[in-house]
Point group: C2
Chain length 256, copies 2
């Protein structure tokens, strides 16, 4: 099993604090040492970092812990290989282009015998169940909506149908973003917190580090952090329900 971290904000925010705790799970406080990756949207563009070294030892993870890249949508992943060998092409998140936007995807879980018919424009480069699931999602969205991106309510309905179809093959906790919204689906384990005014001082579970967000934010900032297991010890994290797909925009979940 891998671990997922997502961030969705109303103003570009850096993920240095949350990533610092999360990266320690990549080989130091946990056993997820078969690679890691992170993707940051900046406008329509994406910065995509992947490494097949564990995140706790990676020079690129070290850079990210100290270089405050500001983004409104971030997805990160640390990997414990269950399918596919340890190789760069198997590190999440994966990126594809659809409807003139980049889409970023990461998965935690294990899909048994999931070999969908990929007859369209999206083919896996590596050999994981996760990348097959992502290609299937992209292919089916394009098949349903053609060359034009749908509006959010229509997209949400189809995504719910597709993720449930995939989740029937096993565990499918996943995060997906096109840079405007962050979609998160829980099969077994996912939780989130919304940080907003008055901002608390948060203490990392995985390292002896705390940050007073009120010093680095304005009263209008709002940040949702979504993760496999709570990152902090003194915030109230809300568990997803199994089978639930949540859509985050501007730092909060959008009511269905």
């Amino acid at each position: 099993m891998c671990q997922l971290l997502g961030m969705n904000c109303n103003v570009p925010t850096d993920i240095v604090f949350s990533f610092t705790g999360f990266a320690h799970r990549g080989g130091r406080t946990d056993t997820h040492h078969d690679g890691w990756g992170i993707a940051f949207f900046e406008g329509r563009g994406v910065r995509h970092f992947v490494d097949h070294q564990g995140a706790s030892a990676s020079p690129i993870a070290e850079l990210i812990k100290h270089y405050p890249i500001k983004s409104t949508n971030v997805i990160a992943h640390i990997r414990k290989a269950t399918q596919g060998q340890v190789a760069l092409e198997n590190c999440h998140p994966f990126v594809r282009e659809l409807w003139g936007r980049y889409w970023v995807f990461a998965h935690n879980g294990d899909l048994k015998d999931f070999f969908p018919d990929l007859n369209g424009a999206f083919h896996p480069v590596g050999n994981t169940d996760s990348e097959r699931a992502f290609c299937f999602l992209m292919q089916e969205l394009r098949a349903r909506f053609g060359d034009q991106a749908p509006d959010l309510p229509a997209l949400r309905v189809v995504l719910i149908e597709l993720v449930h179809q995939i989740a029937s093959y096993g565990t499918f906790n996943m995060m997906l973003s096109d840079g405007t919204a962050l979609f998160a689906h829980c099969s077994t384990k996912l939780c989130y917190v919304v940080r907003q005014y008055p901002f608390p001082t948060a203490c990392l579970s995985d390292e002896d580090l705390s940050v007073d967000f009120s010093e680095v934010t304005t009263p209008n900032d709002r940040v949702a952090v979504i993760v496999t297991e709570p990152l902090t010890t003194n915030e109230r994290w809300t568990d997803f329900q199994p089978g639930e797909l949540k859509v985050f925009i501007d730092g909060m979940p959008v009511p269905a």
Copy 2:
């Protein structure tokens, strides 16, 4: 006009030396400060770094100058914006997936009124002539060969036809790689050198730095470096002919 740097090798090699000189052109020894990017193939996987800061000031460029990522195919680009604003989504190289491989593309030049009919699976995310040209190439390759990658001779014939079609709109110096070969097309300016046994000591044009390659290589290593303008002062660089497409595999050009 931008500058291009490519490397194609028979064994995974780091690009630290060549990139160090090249990165100085991104704002220090030259005026290319509107972003930069580099993509390294590792097996089928790609590490892709882009930054809209000039390469000479970028913390990520600094990392790459000191972190010897070993690769058999690398494409780098420093940007002087001619079309499209300075934004992350307009930084080269661009990456798309076709036939279950990542394809990396970078362009130097300016295409006038190039708005091809993009009716397939590849759409630009930014607003440059370069990304439109890349999407057109990917679309046409998929249209000609369907879902199966062709062999190299067939691919070369079609690529020559397509790049000449694009080059009729302006200047189209470009590099393209799927991780197995590096394709380089010259409209106006491109040169290359093949480094092999006995390796020389090379001196960078853009910085007071030299390296004795014989200390860091074995007699079997072979490296082709392709670039807009020669990077070293004491090696013999071969100019491309205008209109020429060269294919590099295992560190040398493949005869047509």
